[in-house]
Symmetry: C2
Subunit: 315 residues, 2 copies
C-alpha cells in the first residue's frame, strides 16, 4: 500500500557527475526513439548542471541561439540489457559524467543499471573496456553550433556560449576519444569501410524517406537528433520485411552496440536516401550488423552514418 | 554564470495535488505528440503519488498487468499559450490535481503556466469556466483496463489494482464530468454530430494509415495513447496539403481546444481509416475545427474521435 518513490530530483554528486533514480515511464520507452530522446535530455541536463550554462536557452556572444548538438552517439548494451528492452515500471539508477573537450565540444557518459544494483563510481575504463552485463552504457559527444543562415538547417556553424565552463571537468584518456572514430566514419561514409572480421556481407537495400513534419523536427525546427534513430529504424524495418521477417521480431531485436554520427541537418520537405547493408556473423545465425548511410537525396550530402550490432530473437 | 535550477523534484502539496517547476526539454516539444506524451507521464506520476499505486507496474487482483489507460483527453489553450507553442528552454510551473471517480476511473487536471506567474491553487471552476490566457489546461480521464486476451489489443476489459486508493480525493462537481461528453462522442462518432453554431462545413478527407511499428506502440505493445495525436495530425496534414497549405503553416497552427476520446486499441499491422471534416467559422478566416474519426479499416471498429479547434497563422 506504499506509494512508489517517484518524486525524485537528480543529485549533482560533484562538478561533473550526476545520479538519478528513474522509474521508466511510457514516454521513455516503446518502439520509437523515445529512449534515445530521453538520454539526450539527460545529457543536456547534466551539462547544464555541470557547466554553468542553460543548455536549453543558450546564446552565442552575438546573441544568436546556440545548440548543443549531437555529433556522435554510442550505445553499448548486452543480451541482458539493451535500449529496446526497457519497459515502463523498470527502476533504474542512472549515473552521468561529463568530460572536458575544450570550449566547443563536450562528452557525456551515462550508465543505466537496474536500481537494486549497488551504485558505484563511473570510470571510463568500465565504459570502454569492462562493461557490465546488467548495465546499458551511452556516450554522447556534442558540439556547440548555431545556424549560419536563419532560414536554413543546412549551413550550421560552430559556436559556443561565453558562459560555458569546462576547465574543471575531468579529461577523458586520449585513447577513448571518439573524434577519430567519428571523423573516419564521416570520411568513409561507414564505420566499417574495410569489412568486419568474422562477418560476411548479406542483403542491401536503398530506400527514400520523406522527412515527416509530424514526427521528425524539434521545437526549434531542426531535424531532431532522436529522429535519426527512428528514420534509420524505418529503413531497417523495410529491409527486414523484404527478408520475410515479422514486426514482432523487429521489436524484439536486441541492440548490443549502436553507433550514430551526425554530419548534417536538413529542412522541411527534404527527401532522404538511406542505404542499409546487413552483415551476418559467419556461423552464428541472428548475429548481424547493419551498416547505414543517410543522405539528402537531392544533393547526396551525407547527413548520418550508423552501425547497429543486433541479435535477432530466434523463433 | 549561474547554472539553471533544473535538478528539481515535483512536490506533493497534499493528498491530491502536485506542483512541478519544469524547464521544457527537446523531448517535451517539437512537431510530434511529445507534449501530449509528457502530459500523460505527469498524469501517471501524479496518480501514483496521490493514490498509493505504482501506476507503472500495477496488477489486478488476479496478478495480471493493469494499465491506467487514457479514455478522454481534453486540452484547452489560448492564442497566447497552446500545446505546439512550447519550445525548449521555456520555464513552466505545472500544477496537477486528481479527482475521485470511483475505483475504476480517475480524473487528473493540469495547469501549465509560465514560471514567473504567481502559483495559485487549481480550482476546477478556473479550468472549465475562467481559463487564463497565460495558461494551458489539460484534463485526463483514465480507466483501469487489462487485456482480455493476452495476445490481442482488441479485447480490453475494465479492471483495477486492489491497492488503488481514491476515497480521499476531492470530488469534481457533476456538471464538469466528462463521462457524458465522451459517451456521446462515442455513440455519435463525433463531438459535433449536429453541426457547430457559427461554423460551416468545409473540406473533407478520408485516408488510410498503416500503424507504424517504429513510432506507434508503447513499451508493452499497446497502441500508445500519444500516437493517436500524431496519427490524427498525419491525416490533418494530408488534408492541409490538398488545400495547398504549407508545412510551416501547419507547424505554426495554434490549438485552442483539443478533445480526444479513446474507444479502442489495435494490433501491429492494422490499417486505420481516418476521416477528417473541416469546419470553418463564418466570417473569421483561419478559425477552423477539425472533426476526426479513427476506425480500424478492416472491421470499421471505432478507435477514436477527436475535435481540434485551431487558428491558422495568417500569412
Amino acid at each position: 500500500m506504499t506509494a512508489p518513490v517517484i518524486l525524485r530530483a537528480p543529485v549533482l554528486l560533484d562538478g561533473s557527475r550526476l545520479n538519478r533514480r528513474v522509474t521508466v515511464s511510457p514516454h521513455m520507452c516503446g518502439g520509437s526513439s523515445s529512449i534515445f530522446a530521453q538520454l539526450g535530455d539527460w545529457t543536456w541536463e547534466t551539462v547544464s548542471a555541470a557547466c554553468g550554462t542553460n543548455v536549453y536557452d543558450a546564446r552565442t556572444a552575438d546573441g544568436l541561439p546556440a545548440y548543443l548538438s549531437f555529433y556522435y552517439f554510442h550505445v553499448r548494451g548486452s543480451t541482458e540489457t539493451h535500449p529496446h528492452g526497457l519497459t515502463f515500471g523498470d527502476e533504474l539508477s542512472v549515473t552521468s559524467r561529463v568530460f572536458d573537450f575544450g570550449g566547443e565540444s563536450v562528452l557525456t557518459l551515462h550508465r543505466l543499471t537496474r536500481a537494486d544494483a549497488a551504485p558505484e563510481a563511473l570510470d571510463p575504463v568500465e565504459f570502454y573496456e569492462r562493461p557490465r552485463a546488467d548495465s546499458l552504457y551511452v556516450q554522447n559527444f556534442n558540439r556547440w553550433i548555431s545556424r549560419g543562415r536563419p532560414d536554413s538547417n543546412e549551413a550550421l556553424v560552430r559556436s559556443s556560449p561565453p558562459d560555458f565552463r569546462h576547465d574543471h571537468l575531468p579529461v577523458l584518456p586520449e585513447r577513448y576519444s571518439p573524434r577519430a572514430i567519428a571523423s573516419r566514419a564521416r570520411k568513409n561514409a561507414s564505420f566499417h569501410p574495410d569489412g568486419i572480421p568474422g562477418y560476411v556481407v548479406g542483403e542491401e537495400l536503398t530506400c527514400d524517406y520523406d522527412l515527416d513534419v509530424v514526427h521528425d523536427f524539434n521545437g526549434v525546427g531542426l531535424l531532431y537528433f532522436a529522429s535519426y534513430f527512428s528514420i534509420i529504424d524505418t529503413a531497417l524495418l523495410r529491409l527486414w520485411r523484404e527478408l520475410g521477417r515479422g514486426d514482432r521480431e523487429f521489436l524484439a531485436r536486441r541492440i548490443l552496440d549502436h553507433k550514430l554520427g551526425y554530419f548534417g541537418n536538413a529542412d522541411f520537405g527534404a527527401r532522404l536516401s538511406i542505404g542499409v547493408r546487413l552483415w551476418r556473423r559467419a556461423g552464428v545465425p541472428g548475429d548481424e550488423i547493419a551498416d547505414v548511410t543517410v543522405r539528402e537525396a537531392r544533393s547526396g550530402r551525407l547527413l548520418a552514418v550508423s552501425a547497429i550490432h543486433l541479435l535477432r530473437e530466434q523463433a
